[in-house]
Symmetry: C2
Subunit: 218 residues, 2 copies
Amino acid sequence: MDLYTYWRSTAAYRVRIAFNLKNLPYQSSPLHLVRDGGQQLGEAYQQINPQKLVPALRVEKGEILTQSLAIIEYLEEQYPDPALLPATTIERAHVRALAQNIACDIHPLNNLRVLKYLTGPCGLSKEQQTQWYRHWIDEGFVALEATLSQNSSAGDFCHGDNPGLADCCLVPQIYNARRFSIPLENYPTLCRIEKNCLALTAFDKARPEKQPDAETAS
Amino acid sequence: MDLYTYWRSTAAYRVRIAFNLKNLPYQSSPLHLVRDGGQQLGEAYQQINPQKLVPALRVEKGEILTQSLAIIEYLEEQYPDPALLPATTIERAHVRALAQNIACDIHPLNNLRVLKYLTGPCGLSKEQQTQWYRHWIDEGFVALEATLSQNSSAGDFCHGDNPGLADCCLVPQIYNARRFSIPLENYPTLCRIEKNCLALTAFDKARPEKQPDAETAS
C-alpha cells in the first residue's frame, strides 16, 4: 500500500502509527505541503484526493482512500489483529469519540490551510494566530483530560493497557501542540499516555523526524 | 435512549436522521445553545459532556456517548438493520470519508463556538465572518461534488440507492449552508441527493423546524 504523507502532517502521522501497530508494511509517497506553493494543491494530487489534503492511501487493488480515521477503520476491518478498537459496542463508541474530539474538534481548526487563512484573508497577526491555535488546543485538551482522568477505562493508554485508535490521534496532536510551544502542565494524563506510547516502537517509528521526507530546519 | 440536542445543531441533526432511518425511538432533551449564555456551557451539561457540545446520547444502560459519528457508528453496530454503511470494507471506507469530509473538515470550522470566536477575540467583522463561513463550505463542497459526480457508486444517494451515513451528514450541512445564504448552484449533485433525502420521512422528521424546541424567529 502506498501512503501519501508529509512528515509533519498530524493526520498522516495517525495513519503511520496505525500501520506500525498492525505490523503492516507501506510505501511512503511524500508530498511537501509548503514547497512549490504546496504540492497537495497541484493538479496531479487533486486527481488522487479532491480535498487536497494528506493523507491518502492507495490500497492493493488500486483504490484511493482518504480521511485518516476512515483509513484506520479500513485497516481495522481488513487486518483486525491486533485490534485498535475494543470489543464491546459501548467501549468502541467511547474510543471513537476520543479520536473524534481530536480529529473533528481540535485538528481541523489548527491545520496549515486554516492557519494560513487566518493571517492571509482574515488579516490576523502572527500573535493572534498563535492565540487561536492555543485556544482550540486548550478547549479540546481540557475535555480530553477530564474524560481520561475520570474514566476508569483509561489505563496505560487512552483505553486500557493496549494502544488503539484514540492513541493514534492523541500522540500526533500533542506533537503539534509542542511544536507551537503550548504549555501542557494542565494535562498530566494526556502527557502520561503520550510517554507510554512513544516508548513503543510503533509510535517511535512514526515520529515526524524519523520520516524519509523529514527536514532538520524547524 | 435520550438525545441531548438543539434544533439547529447540524451534528445533532445527523443523529436524528440516523435514529429515524433505523426506525429507533428516542427522547429529545433539548439544550438551548444561545439562551442563558449557552445551556451547553453550564456545569450540569459539562458533567454529561466535558466537550460542552451537542449531541450526546444517554443509552439504555445509562452510559453517555458523545460525538455524532461515534454515536451513529454505535447505532449501526447495535441495531444493524437497516444498514447505514455498505457491505464491503472499501465501500465503507469511501462512505466514512465522505462523512468525515463534512464532519471533520467543514462543520467544525463553521459551528457556533468558532463563529463567535471570530467576531469576538479575533475581532473580525460580520462580513469577514460570513466570508470565512462561505470559504470553508466551498472548499469542502467542491471536493464533495467532484467525488460524488465522478464516482460511479453514487446513485440516488451518496452511496447507491439507499440512504446512509454520508447522507446523514450531507443534508444537515446543506441546511446550514442555506441558512447562511451560500449559493449552491455549483453543487448540482449535492442538491440532487439532498432533494432525494428530504423526500423520505426519516429525513423530513429530523428537520430542525420540526423539532420540539424549534423557534419561528430566524
